[in-house]
Symmetry: D2
Subunit: 357 residues, 4 copies
């Protein structure tokens, strides 16, 4: 079968591999819609997860079940499915402790294009099919659906972890597709004012549709100062960090009020200095005593998560397809889509590849 792979750090290409084998509780799925992720770009061109040879990329997919193992009960060939980016081993120690995305080690629930071949292939393997696949609801567009596996799940987690209450004031730092999903998630948790920090017009437009009340641009000066100014010096109840280099945590903490949450959903692909650190501002952090709490996490995966996100969309609570700014038709266009993600033109939020209708 054909797949779009990282050949080595800095290089991608189409390769041939054998169709994966199906265990008794697994499924083999072929793609229906695919989306490249910024982390595919990090993986290939920044070596974010280290060297990989001929690893098939991709972890955002809708699919059609092609084969299921003997013990699979709820899915059969031909079923249209949502495939979560994170497919935990649900029985394991970390899951029993309440951290399924960390099964088998840090970020261990992330398998596609990390510890096994990803979804950018004619066929891909899904572990624990009954528990890691969800049925694609009738009537959900592919452009909307393909945002669920990672963008919505991660962005919404950002809002969940931020402990937003009714009327909380929230700042979302970064309005790529994950940040936009966090904006939508913050509104769906009951936030009042939402400050969205970004400048790209396409993203700004969607941020407003998703509930941002104030758009903050770094071009107008310090984002921290602007938000402090607009809140009468108080700062915000919650910050969702959805982009930026290591120094973004300085801003995040400085803009949060005493008694607040800084919820990180940013993948820190690089740090500062020899020790490879992420800096926090000592004074802004209240010398470690201002109740500015930092919460992290990895995209929740699994069937129930996908079903619940699908319910949110099917009940009309928000429309993720607004983020699909660039839609390609055909599996062969996958490389173009990925390169577009790398290039990141100003009018891009998220490229999507529709493989089958």
């Amino acid at each position: 079968m054909k797949g779009l792979a990282m050949l080595k750090i800095g290089e991608i290409g189409w390769i041939e591999k054998e169709r994966p084998a199906c265990g008794p509780r697994d499924a083999i799925v072929r793609p229906l819609a695919l989306a490249p992720c910024t982390s595919d770009v990090h993986t290939v061109w920044e070596g974010a997860i280290g060297e990989r040879r001929n690893l098939i990329l991709g972890h955002e997919a809708l699919g059609i079940v092609d084969e299921v193992g003997d013990e699979v009960k709820d899915f059969k060939p031909g079923d249209r499915v949502i495939v979560p980016a994170i497919t935990p081993d649900w029985e394991t120690e970390a899951a029993q402790r309440g951290f399924p995305s960390q099964t088998g080690g840090p970020l261990g629930g992330w398998k596609f294009s990390n510890t096994k071949d990803g979804v950018f292939a004619e066929y891909f393997h899904v572990n624990l099919a009954d528990y890691n696949l969800a049925h694609l609801p009738e009537g959900m567009s592919l452009e909307a659906g393909v945002m669920l596996p990672d963008m919505l799940s991660t962005g919404f987690m950002g809002a969940e972890n931020a402990r937003i209450g009714f009327g909380s004031t929230v700042a979302v730092l970064g309005i790529g597709p994950v940040g936009l999903s966090a904006v939508a998630g913050a509104r769906l948790r009951g936030a009042g004012r939402i400050f969205a920090v970004g400048t790209r017009p396409a993203a700004v437009k969607v941020a407003k549709e998703y509930g941002a009340t104030d758009i903050i641009s770094y071009r107008e000066g310090s984002t921290v100062d602007q938000i402090l100014d607009k809140t009468g010096g108080a700062g915000v109840d919650a910050v969702i960090v959805a982009g930026g280099g290591p120094e973004v945590m300085m801003d995040a903490i400085n803009v949060a009020k005493p008694g607040s949450v800084i919820s990180n959903i940013n993948y820190f692909g690089s740090g500062i200095g020899d020790q490879d650190i992420i800096p926090l501002p000592r004074v802004g952090w209240g010398y470690g005593m201002a109740d500015k709490n930092i919460v992290t996490g990895l995209c929740p995966g699994g069937r129930v998560r996908m079903e619940r996100l699908a319910d949110v969309v099917m009940c009309g609570r928000m429309d993720p397809s607004l983020m699909a700014t660039h839609v390609f038709k055909g599996f062969d266009r996958l490389k173009d889509a990925l390169l577009l993600m790398k290039e990141k033109p100003r009018d891009l939020i998220k490229p999507v590849v529709i493989v089958e209708e």
Copy 2:
């Protein structure tokens, strides 16, 4: 001054009283907009809080500050304010434990028309003005604003306590104004399907606008069966009990799935039998072991709560004025409004009295 009072159980009337005195940290406020509450009806005609003589009724008000004590810093005469139904003593033991609405005993944060004269008067007294009043935002309509002190605060608490997550399935039992606020609150916490149980057309219409996806009528059969049927037998993740007699808890528990929350915002004005009980269904409750958890509370009060609800409204997250179906003009119409609440015609959700524009 003039006030609309409960003369004794079963009887209301206009009375004359002295204008209340203002302590150093208090305010005297005159009404801008008022709303009668179902609990005023319970108080008078059902004797829900026991006998009261010449007690001025009412706890839902917007007002204009008329006088402030020496130590009040943030308010001055002429300020337009939101007056929460619940005005806690914020320093006390229960508040330090995290339960400000229970300061000074069960439901002790509820003072207006309970332990002191209420807001249905030409002037009324507010304790701890700096901490129990909030400025009425420019541009908020009086019809919207007067829903904040109790309806929104209580209904939203119902949603908060229900621990709704993204895509949770929720049933709201009862769609009076508190139930409708709970529907809106559930949507604003990220609920997926919301089953609203009620039949009155005016309320049904608003329930849909506020986010209900399914309307359930007891006229079509058992509400429990209908909801179980629509959820494939699973039941719901959260139930908000927003109306009904004591037996409503039977339905609430029977319709909840194992691992769920039943969030009560219903004032139980009467119980069953000599022991005056509220019954739970033993089997439906999983013999006490099915993780069906029952959470209660009294409307949160105080300044910060009102400011945050105001932010929700001013940011356009929902429009509480949709519930103001009957608007009266002039303080003199207050009695008509209260009697309308008692009579409860089918097209009524909430009567509002605009005292000044």
Copy 3:
């Protein structure tokens, strides 16, 4: 193989059955130590879970692994293990929602002596061995260890759910072995005063060792009044309901202060009236508005839970063997132990059967 079974409601006896078969991820275990539970008594003589024919009883065991399936990695024949009473299917919907004990329906994680044969047999079957067994630590006595599968896990859950903080005042209603474990659990969560309600001298003695500061006897008058009296009328922050008939919830709620938790770990084997209800006191419950929250649950199971309880014991935090008041030697004594549990002499807390040393 031989097993002690419920022949039908009201009758037990030794029966012969085939040794259970071992699936690829399962284990077959033979008993090392066993303990009868009050719920075995309920099951047989009160028909609490309905009619069962020739169902092998028992769900509290330490064991020796006899056989493991092909896919089992962490256990091998000869390993000494703790077998949790509750053995969830960790992948399923309820587990993904955070309620593993409710997998597959209400109380569905409870399989032994409920939906399959129990542990009172020469061999018994454990599903998902790698995730539902734990190694028995070197140096843990069998009398201590056999308390972990249910007594400690349930009693400690009672304390966890009660949201006890440092210095919280707690009442534990009932001091059978689960109630005693709840007393120990309350102390281990940092409780201040702990009121233990019970009269049996053996239990009273252990309650004091486990941290009870006040023993309350119903013989001295109303337990509610006694506790209110000793708390200056305030009531307690948390109540753990660990025994009693359906009316125990009346006391539990009446003794709790506004802003409190009633944590139920009592199996309600019978209700009141035709509707089979559990009653709550309307006024004591603050008309549904006094923030008296009722939390329930079923004993947590699985490997991680057992490992953590074992750590508590091995670190010397409490000694569960104090509850093993009656120790029998030999598998053949199992029936005697169970009948003793039924008879419940005054000096009994918990009978234990040591099968092998």
Copy 4:
């Protein structure tokens, strides 16, 4: 009156000041027992809170009420009281949001020896006496009691914020008196293994008495490596940071497992580099995605907190007087006690000054 003051950065001395005035809700208290805190040392000799002139030091005291304002109800002259280090304005915005220690700005609940004169004086002022004082229980030793205002409250908060469950494995970095209190607090939350990192023999002895199961010394190599080694590479569920320079956060995060809490109770008196930062390790932090959550806070204050800590002690849950290694008699010895704290001899945990018996 006489007081021991910071004359300027780097210099202390006895000064004369006027006895403070008592507002209507306040109290004037004279000291019964006092204790210097490491933060007094930071304040004076490291300028941690900036320049202060003639500021009376001290925030850890037991006292005797000397005068109360007109509105004070629960205290009268002669009462023996516990004075919390943190005395919030309980009505204010931050308190209504749930962060009383942050009232009036970051760390704003901390008033003694920060924004007003401290307790190292013949008389000191307590705001909101009814809500910020607690009665000293009969029978509590002064050496034990004087640990409550800050040491126990802060150390226990470290354990509370760490979300310790039954059997959690905890590392406490630093075993000064706050770290030792955190060890005791961790045990009182139900921790299993507790790794206490420190070397001073007096502290090591108390750490073991308070529940530490493993003592880790940096002299034996990297503390991170030692703890990872002792946990089979897994790391710990919770880290309490109770001492160290800015780089302690590197260790804290590296020793925590994916899915864990790092609970900080360390006052960071200095940072790294021009930007004055606290560094986090990018890789150890799982690139920001390993669910390693960082929780902070400032010592909880107020009456209820003190009463609850007193209950913990009076119920025999732990004995804080073990930390009082050096006891001075007489107000005049205060300077000696403070200088001893600065000097920090190896056998010191905490100096205490008994002013009156």
